[in-house]
Symmetry: C2
Subunit: 348 residues, 2 copies
């Protein structure tokens, strides 16, 4: 018997089947058919029973919906709740590192309550003077992604020219602000006037453009970067990457964080200008955040004071209720969200 | 007056016009119309008048034939001799580092005699117990290219799986042997049975294949690398790169030395599988050897003993006479050469 004690209803967001093409709301099912005991079973060492509070919508999740053997994070199983990063409260624990009442962030289920068996890393939340939802974003996986990608992969220097794509997203908005703190010139690409305004007026980007209004990305980049690009923080792939390759400066760096434009196409878009890599001595590096979890303490020491002092701003797009989760997640792929997309399961 | 003294005939290989498409022999003209004084002119500080001995045929040269503003090495001027790496003997010098009788290697003209004004680096040849022609290859630019690309960019470790394309070329044959010295498993790709035999039987590659006989590079690579590829030393680009991206291991590295298949196409070939960069955390880096000239002494200290002790082999494809130069250079683009292509202007 995995769990014991009284079973209560546990609302869940289930993946119906592995998908092809773009994820749709109808690929996910919100159901209350399941029940769960709120106690960790006796036979579960290092298990944590949590109440989920905030769930993170991240682009990679649509990719996990396609692939049974996803190389990235936690694989999905049709008929079971999807999983993702989230903030949760510990209700019961057989794990020596966590006790009842602790707040944690890490991989959890898209459901009201989850039994986590610590196969994925869980982080204890020690600072609660900032909004808890921040641990799905700026103080969680996307934050560490931005930090590791920018500082560790891009090796930025003062005065360098930086382009960030998907710049108003959870990762992009932070990368741009890190670049400004470093004394770089930073331009963001985003998909609406509202997002462009946000980048320029609230998040401190030097400039920004709406890629949906640009016909020729090469011309666009030449306009925003007449001197070329030193650092490209890549979140989208495809045509933008191709145009960037034509506009890199010598010894430029491209941190490949994601390629959201390529996750759900029938045919991957062609990239042609890789020969630029040679002449411009470009360094391109893909990375996944899990390789950088050991940096988390250093990251928190850097970031928390910046948030408390208002030196770094953060924009969230919050929807209420697990029922709203599928639409919020699917909205990522058409760029509906403005800022980090979060789903509130419960506030405490 | 740039030169002074008696003028003598100076045979040259001239670029007629900037080219489009694949270089042809007829784009180059061998002429004896010019004369040169064998003295450095009084008004030429830091100049060296040399007699050219060995000229190096390198893939980038065809690229320079196309582009007036080549980012790479020395640009070409129609109506003037093409230039490239070579070995030469100093006949006269106003340069404090070189004196009459010195042997040097560096960028020189495709002609019998050149007046070098030291705008490009020149290296004095201190070791003559190895063939002088080696300084166009294993002990010159291609050697340092292989050394810097493999050791500095690829950060190889014992037991890793290494693929080298254009593997019997000047750079590739060395990269493969460096990989073996490091304890890696190394497979070479080349364009004929003769080259494949050379790689397997003389140069010590673990395996090799003729890419011209392979219909599906992805299947080929899965056959030779069932465990995937840790290091790809890229000399060709295009379809091979695309297939490699599908077969990289986590934290794999791709050193982009050249993309000879892409230098002379009307339309650059599409690469589709760049998303692999993310999941596999691949590091791709382009490089040019001039950034690594400061390593030359260290490189020589490593390589000379290996050559003297026979631990590293080296295959040259030598043609005699400046008249043979155009055909030898153009032959690179159809893979006619077996080993490093060298043109002998004079033996001493």
């Amino acid at each position: 018997m995995a769990n014991e004690g009284v079973e209560i209803s546990n609302k869940q967001v289930i993946l119906k089947e592995y998908i092809t093409g773009l994820p749709k709301e109808s690929d996910l099912l919100v159901t209350t058919n399941n029940t769960i005991s709120l106690k960790v079973g006796r036979g579960s060492p290092k298990a944590v029973l949590v109440k989920n509070l905030y769930l993170s919508c991240d682009p990679y999740m649509g990719y996990s919906m396609k692939h049974p053997d996803c190389d990235l994070h936690n694989p999905y199983t049709p008929g079971s709740p999807i999983t993702g990063f989230g903030v949760a409260k510990v209700l019961d624990s057989s794990h020596p590192d966590f006790k009842k009442g602790d707040l944690i962030w890490g991989i959890t289920g898209w459901e009201q309550y989850s039994l986590l068996t610590a196969t994925e890393p869980l982080f204890k939340i020690n600072h609660t003077d900032v909004p808890l939802s921040y641990y799905t974003g700026i103080l969680g996986m996307p934050g560490l992604t931005a930090y590791a990608g920018f500082y560790e992969i891009c090796s930025p220097k003062k005065g360098e020219y930086v382009l960030v794509s998907a710049a108003s997203g959870a990762v992009g908005q932070l990368v741009g602000q890190f670049a400004k703190l470093m004394g770089c010139y930073v331009v963001g690409s985003a998909g609406s006037k509202e997002k462009v305004d946000l980048l320029k007026n609230k998040l401190g980007f030097d400039d920004a453009f709406n890629y949906k209004e640009e016909l020729d990305f090469n011309a666009t980049l030449k306009r925003y970067f007449p001197e070329g690009i030193d650092i490209y923080f890549e979140n989208v792939g495809g045509k933008m990457l191709d145009a960037v390759l034509l506009n890199m400066r010598v010894h430029g760096r491209i941190a490949v964080c994601g390629m959201i434009s390529q996750y759900h196409v029938d045919q991957l878009e062609a990239v042609h200008y890789l020969t630029s890599i040679i002449y411009k001595r470009v360094h391109i590096e893909g990375f996944v955040v899990s390789d950088y979890f050991p940096l988390y303490c250093k990251f928190m020491d850097t970031l928390l004071p910046c948030i408390r002092e208002g030196k770094i701003k953060y924009v969230e797009d919050i929807v209420e209720g697990l029922e709203s989760g599928p639409a919020a997640l699917i909205g990522l792929y058409s760029g509906q969200n403005v800022g980090k997309q979060v789903v509130v399961v419960d506030h405490d």
